[in-house]
Amino acid sequence: MNQLLQQIVAGLESGSSYGLIGLAIVVVMKATDVPNFAMAEMGLVVAYFSWWLSSPDDGLGWPFWLSMLIAVVAAAAFGAASQFFLIRPLTGLSNQPLAFLVAVGFAAALAAQFHTRGLPRFVDWLPGLGGGYPWVVAVLMGLITAPLWYVAIRRLVKPLARVDHFPLLLLTIGLTYALGSLIENLWGATPQRFEAPWSGKTFDIGDTRVGWDQVVSIIAGLAIALGLAVFFRSRWGVRMRAIAEDGPTARMLGINAGAVSLIAWAIGTTIAGSAMILTTSSTVLQLGSAEGLILKGFIAAVLGGFVSLPGTFIGGIIVGVAEALAGGQIDTSLQPIVALLVVVVVLLVRPGGLTRQAKLREV
């Protein structure tokens, strides 16, 4: 019996993080119509940042609560920046920020490349070239290419009238890998211990040992989900819903779609960041932490039909608990399959997710 309770608690904890990632995905999807595959990875960046701020050995060693606060604010900024630089060019607004970012980024990357490795292999046969160059030369070479990138992006990135989900999905998949690389470059590949005030401490309910981190995760998850529900009743939340329903009309009514998008991404990244902080402080902080979560997050979102916030969070909980119970009660090898089976079965039975969505077909 105590095993059952333990499994349920574990399931609630993991389900809570699935639900939170799912919520982040749905918020961004509803407001900006972008399926953000990089959501968990972005959260991981935030988690790493928070860890770095608070780690006494490898980082700044600041107090945990302070670093969490800063990380959350940084998450919002990070999310808004991603939307601003990457997504806006596609949806018709200016691609200038992107051009600038790419120019600077590529120039820097090329400079580093020239410094360490010289020109790429297939140009090796050019006489006299090859091998690394001193920093000054490398930076100059990089800078020379900068205007090229700028103009290229300005010219070539065409705003699309209607951006399909598939290209956006690909874009965010690319972003996921780029971010993973960024994390590795900034903080290394070794798994880290992320210490929170509640890590490692447990208490007993009867025979069951329950970790405080599990309780915190569950409660925080619920709190965030409820907070989100409250937010959507506020002025900005209503605006977000309006944009999601009917963008052009909402814009005509004076709702600032750009601001709404930024806020949505900021909120989404904050939620994902919190989820990742909770998860990694409870288990381990490593590069692969986000990989499994993003799919589960999408599964939770799918269960909520990509529309309903409560449906998403509850969906996540269901998956988490089902996983834990199947793994514990039946067989551990079943655990990876459960989430996959759940989503397939649910979609077969209810193609629109768990929540009912009345859709009139237009012919």
Binding site: A358, L360, R361, V363
Partner: protein
């Protein structure tokens, strides 16, 4: 603006045999609590049949029921003695039913010919494995179908555009291509949903003359939803008026337009058929 002078008078052509091809019996359609069609009894005969009514009256829903998108909550649909009500969409096509849509549904990055060829799909005997191996009868079948499609396009003056991208055509031309697609399937009944909407006068002339020729040759039953009353009056010997899901009148154009119920509900007092030519709007 339509030019009814393609016929010499406003009384439409009387096709000799007007047998009933499509029959709707006591059709009821409801979406949740919203009752869209109530107790619709209709007979569509060979030749042209008009369906008019204000927007939201349920005309397109009627077409949706006929072509199998929507299940009626009550009532049946009969075509030449066959009960269509429970049939799948593909079965209806094989039985001889075709339709077009208010906004044309064409594959924009395929050619006009390829789009029209889609209509022949259910008539092909040889499957895809045959075409993988360059099977000669398959090739012959393809050429024969293309010839039929080309002839159909020719009826509507689009033969020269057969190999252009469908996306490059104007909306009017696209709508006519869709009509061609539905006609090459050798249907007994074709449902045209506002075929003339958005077409220039010249296109409408071409469309109507092509349709008239076809009806004279093949005795197809054509049901047209339209808002352009003059066009419908010039074309259809029988018109039905749908108003909030109910048929409020049926008969010849003269009968319908002078029916006080129709005048009250749809046309407005002071409506005259003759004046329609000048400045009507839907």
């Amino acid at each position: 603006m339509t030019d009814p002078t393609t016929t010499t008078t406003t009384t439409p052509i009387q096709t000799p045999s007007r047998e009933t091809v499509l029959e709707l019996r006591d059709l009821h359609v409801a979406f949740g609590g919203n009752r869209v069609l109530e107790g619709v009894d209709l007979e569509f005969k060979a030749g042209f049949n008009g369906m008019i009514g204000p927007n939201g009256a349920g005309k397109t829903t009627l077409f949706n029921v006929l072509s199998g998108y929507v299940m009626p909550s009550r009532g049946t649909v009969w075509m030449r003695g066959e009960n269509l009500t429970a049939m799948s969409q593909t079965a209806r096509v094989k039985a001889g039913l075709g339709r077009t849509f208010q906004s044309p549904k064409l594959v924009l990055d395929a050619t006009v010919m390829e789009n029209v060829l889609l209509g022949r799909h259910h008539l092909f005997r040889w499957g895809h494995v045959a075409e993988l191996f360059f099977w000669p009868p398959r090739r012959r079948e393809e050429t024969a179908s293309r010839r039929i499609c080309m002839e159909m396009l020719d009826r509507f003056g689009l033969a020269a555009k057969a190999h252009q991208q469908a996306g490059d055509l104007s909306l009017g031309a696209q709508k006519i291509v869709e009509v061609c697609r539905s006609l090459v399937a050798e249907p007994s009944v074709v449902l045209l949903d506002e075929p003339a909407a958005g077409l220039g006068a010249d296109d409408v002339t071409v469309l109507l003359s092509g349709l008239r020729a076809l009806v004279a040759e093949r005795q197809i039953c054509i049901v047209i939803i339209e808002h352009d009353l003059a066009l419908v009056a010039a074309l259809c010997p029988e018109i039905s008026v749908l108003h909030f899901g109910e048929i409020i009148s049926r008969g010849t154009p003269v009968e319908v337009t002078s029916d006080p119920i129709v005048v009250e509900a749809y046309l407005g007092a002071g409506f005259e058929l003759g004046d329609e030519v000048a400045g009507m709007d839907s």
